[in-house]
């Protein structure tokens, strides 16, 4: 993969690598965003529960 | 299944069927508008609009491509395997443009019956293969 021809993609480097970049950015965002939101929600619910029980 | 649920299921299926039929009729009515381009036979038959821009699609006839001048003007024939139309275009052609390739051109017919294009798009086919395979496939056909 250190072959410069591989990264050049026969002159289509911009189109190919932008496609892959955008694809994985969207996929990763759709995966990480709900996990972060859930962690956040769990934290808030825990704080609320502690306040109610004490 | 409880009767109320079966009722809901039947209602949903009937609504979907009705909707499907309505959409099918609508698409049928707008069929011509949904066509992205006219074929060369359409143009010869006079179905394409005169004095207005439209898109023309077809195969670039092998051996028909010529560059009459020193500028970027190219002239070629398009065919849908039955009728041919001559196209003139000035500008840079897309990477995939070559003889035997399907293309879609946008422009209008002039007085000579030549299609003067302002834009040429290449339509690639659905076949994908390595160059070596393509060359072995082509050989037997060539005389």
């Amino acid at each position: 993969m250190n072959n410069p021809d591989f990264w050049a993609m026969g002159g289509y480097a911009f189109y190919v690598w932008t496609s892959y970049g955008i694809t994985f950015a969207v996929l990763l965002w759709n995966l990480i965003s709900p996990v972060l939101q859930r962690k956040n929600l769990l934290r808030r619910l825990t704080v609320k529960q502690k306040r109610e029980t004490s | 299944m409880k009767p109320i649920r079966r009722q809901r299921l039947i209602l949903i299926l009937l609504s979907l069927a009705g909707l499907g039929i309505a959409v099918a009729f609508a698409l049928q009515a707008f069929n011509q508008n949904l066509m992205y381009f006219f074929s060369t036979s359409d143009v010869i038959a006079g179905k394409a609009p005169a004095n207005a821009d439209f898109r023309l699609g077809g195969m670039v006839v092998k051996g028909s491509l010529e560059r009459p001048g020193a500028d970027l003007l190219v002239r070629f024939k398009l065919s849908d395997l039955s009728k041919e139309v001559t196209v003139e275009y000035t500008g840079i052609l897309p990477d995939l443009f070559r003889e035997g390739q399907g293309i879609v051109a946008k422009g209008r017919l002039d007085g000579r019956g030549v299609f003067v294009a302002q834009e040429v798009l290449a339509k690639h086919d659905e076949n994908y293969m390595p160059p070596e395979v393509a060359s072995t496939l082509k050989k037997p056909v060539q005389p």
């Binding site: 026969g10 969207v26 709900p34 619910l45 | 994908y128």
Partner: protein
Amino acid sequence: MAFFPASWTRFFHQTASPPYFYALASKLSPWLGGICLALLAAGLYGGLYLAPPDYQQGDSYRIIYVHVPAAWMSLFVYVLMAVMGGIALIWRMKLAEVMLISSAPIGAGFTFIALVTGSLWGKPMWGAWWVWDARLTSELILLFLYLGVISLYGAIEDKRNAARAVSILALVGVVNIPIIHYSVEWWNTLHQGPTVTKLDKPSIHISMLTPLLLMALAFKFYYALAVLQNAKLELLRRESGAQWVKNLLGAKT
């Protein structure tokens, strides 16, 4: 009328109960993620490195390995959403509502990817970023349907009512799916016809087809993983007052 054997119904009800489903989703996630990553690695290596360039399009055709799986998934996820909508309307099943709304952002993501990578492929090959042919236009409508589902659900305060409205929208929109699929056969389009799903001889060389199928499978596993993360979040939001959530919080502290 007994539609399913009693044992199936029991299994169904158990799996569909929020605490059981939440725990199941947590247990499955690492496996789904692992399989997805392995398939992605194999598919990317095969598609970007091992597969030869195309005889006409050179290396630009490698966009196919993200474009086509994303486009397939955009249709597949929408059909799943419509099925969930049907189940939610007929059986009033909460989990179906949750799975429907959890699928929407992921499906929208796939649709967006299919449109953008298609554009990046169209520019060098066709000579245009975008054309209003039947295939591209119907896929754009699909993106609007997904966005419609997301915003309609967000706009209605009561989530049970919101889920019913969204179920109907998902079902109505399903008529667009066959239109997208057959658009290249029904009308003249700039987009080419189907490669893999056509019935006669496959028109893609095996060395190029294998990575494509690996990537498609990887995207399926990705969807399963992502939809479970969204479903866990949605279940917590909806059931934040329920006892099982309190137990869950208690177990953590």
